[in-house]
């Protein structure tokens, strides 16, 4: 039921050059604090270091200097660009395994499968599902562990626009039920405006925050809310 802040303090990251590639300092003294229960969207040009930041929060990547604090042993759910399901296990087993690993009851996961619209697909294997359905399983998996932190790396960029819209609404519903702390990386500025409490625009090398936009709209929001468009335009103007 709790959420934990994510804190990047003075984070530095340099990738060694390989072959003709020069050594690159992606991040230097990078500071960012995501409050407990806040959903922060990270946008910025390709290769700026968004995934690197997200991976640091996930523990998939280490920082060279500084610290990334996700509150130690917090329950952390993640949704990737691809569903990343275990194709040899049924839909329900995929969700249950995450719950087992997190030490929570699998009951919530079962409820979530119905909630994301997959009732009747529990025993199916992932490859028998559409891309959108698979991403629904991935959403159910991330939320089945009653997460304190949820990380999303371009979660809807691999599905068609209509499916993406539905999945965004679904994500909003899941979020409202029990808001964790969230970090969303996306290239879709409308998506960022619709989902986030705050949007951060990154730019430069090493990356720094070039714009910070609060989205003070009540939830549930509608993707067609004109107020979102204004925010989307502000983000865009900083991106291009």
């Amino acid at each position: 039921m709790s959420a934990a802040p994510i804190v990047f303090s003075r984070v530095g990251k340099t990738y060694p050059g390989i072959g003709a590639r020069p050594t690159e300092t992606i991040l230097r003294d990078f500071d960012l604090r995501i409050e407990a229960g806040e959903l922060l969207a990270l946008v910025g040009p390709s290769g700026i270091g968004k995934t690197t930041l997200l991976h640091m929060a996930a523990g998939l990547e280490t920082s060279d200097t500084g610290a990334v604090q996700t509150g130690g042993d917090r329950r952390l759910g993640m949704v990737f660009q691809q569903p990343r399901l275990l194709n040899w296990l049924s839909v329900v087993r995929n969700v249950e395994l995450a719950a087992e690993a997190a030490g929570v009851s699998p009951r919530r996961g079962l409820e979530l499968l119905t909630e994301v619209g997959l009732d009747g697909y529990q025993a199916a294997f992932p490859l028998g599902l559409s891309g959108g359905q698979r991403q629904r399983v991935a959403l159910a998996r991330a939320f089945s562990i009653d997460p304190e932190i949820v990380l999303l790396d371009e979660p809807f960029s691999a599905v068609d626009a209509l499916t993406a819209r539905r999945l965004r609404l679904l994500l909003q519903d899941l979020w409202l039920e029990n808001p964790p702390t969230g970090l969303l990386v996306t290239h879709n500025t409308q998506e960022a405006a619709f989902l986030a409490d705050r949007v951060i625009v990154l730019g430069g090398r090493p990356a720094r925050v070039v714009e910070e936009i609060k989205v003070d709209l009540p939830r549930p929001r509608s993707p067609e809310d004109p107020a979102l468009f204004e925010i989307h335009r502000r983000i865009m103007s900083r991106l291009i």
Partner: protein
């Protein structure tokens, strides 16, 4: 893309429920047809050769068939095949377990992989004959001889196969398992092993054929029963038909294992692919 995507599925369609025994068997028979044609062709050529040569060194089919019937009568062949299969199974299971364990360790630790590399190379180089001879000398006539020589014969190539499989495990799934804090046991059971199933299956097939080649030598040099021993005694009495009969009997048993056991196992383990495409 997962590692398993590189391996083709056997062309076995799902059987319709009911509809009579013939309906159920027809597709399988059709699938077996090309193989059967090959066997008939070889048998035909052999028969032609036997009739033109007219030599005791090339017995005709009737003679070989007579030998097979003689060996089968009284259960002698079955007993000897059973003994050999038992030895192959023991050595095979032990060798397989060792190869999987070493493979997992080597995948985890580069140092360990480098540490055992010379041993693996040695194992790949040394012919099964050498292991058979050494084990007969060291362990005598006990069960240790066939088991240890099979382990030595199959573990190195199996280890290579399994290591290839482990290298091909989808790193995206490994990351997922890491993020969701899967226990080591869950990672091995639900991510690693299922990913390398195709490699394990081809490993089992490889192990079987290699083990057979080793066990024949062991039985020939050091033991007083089993198919290898029988082959040698037919050879000593210059009974070519007997040698062929034993070979054919064992070939049939291996084919039965392949089609009955292995393909059944493969179908079960790769069910998720087929059910998906229905």
């Amino acid at each position: 893309m997962s590692a398993t995507d590189t391996v083709a599925l056997p062309g076995v369609a799902r059987q319709p429920e009911g509809g009579g025994a013939w309906r159920a068997w027809a597709p399988r028979l059709r699938a077996a047809l090309p193989g059967a044609v090959f066997c008939l062709l070889v048998a035909g050529l052999w028969e032609v050769l036997a009739r033109t040569k007219q030599s005791p060194l090339v017995p005709d089919l009737a003679e070989v068939w007579g030998e097979i019937l003689r060996l089968l009568a009284g259960g002698m062949a079955l007993e000897q095949v059973g003994i050999t299969l038992w030895r192959i199974s023991l050595g095979g299971i032990a060798g397989f377990a060792i190869a999987v364990l070493l493979g997992l360790f080597a995948a985890r630790s580069r140092l360990f992989g480098a540490f055992i590399r010379p041993a693996v190379l040695l194992g790949l180089t040394v012919p099964g004959l050498v292991w058979a001879l050494l084990c007969v000398i060291w362990f005598g006539v006990g069960l240790a001889t066939p088991v240890v020589s099979i382990i030595l014969g199959i573990a190195p190539p199996l280890l290579v196969t399994i290591s290839q499989g482990l290298r091909a495990v989808d790193s995206e799934l490994t990351e997922m398992a890491h993020v969701f804090r899967f226990s080591r046991a869950a990672r091995i059971r639900h991510v690693l092993l299922p990913s390398i199933v195709p490699f394990l299956l081809s490993g089992v097939r490889l192990a079987f054929s290699l083990a057979w080649k080793v066990i024949v030598l062991v039985e020939l040099f050091g033991l007083s029963d089993g198919v290898g021993y029988q082959l040698n005694s037919e050879f000593s009495s210059q009974n070519v038909a007997g040698v062929l009969a034993w070979t054919l009997i064992f070939w049939v048993v291996m084919a039965a294992i392949e089609f009955g056991l292995m393909q059944g196992m493969e179908n079960r383990l790769t069910r998720w692919r087929r059910e998906s495409s229905l």
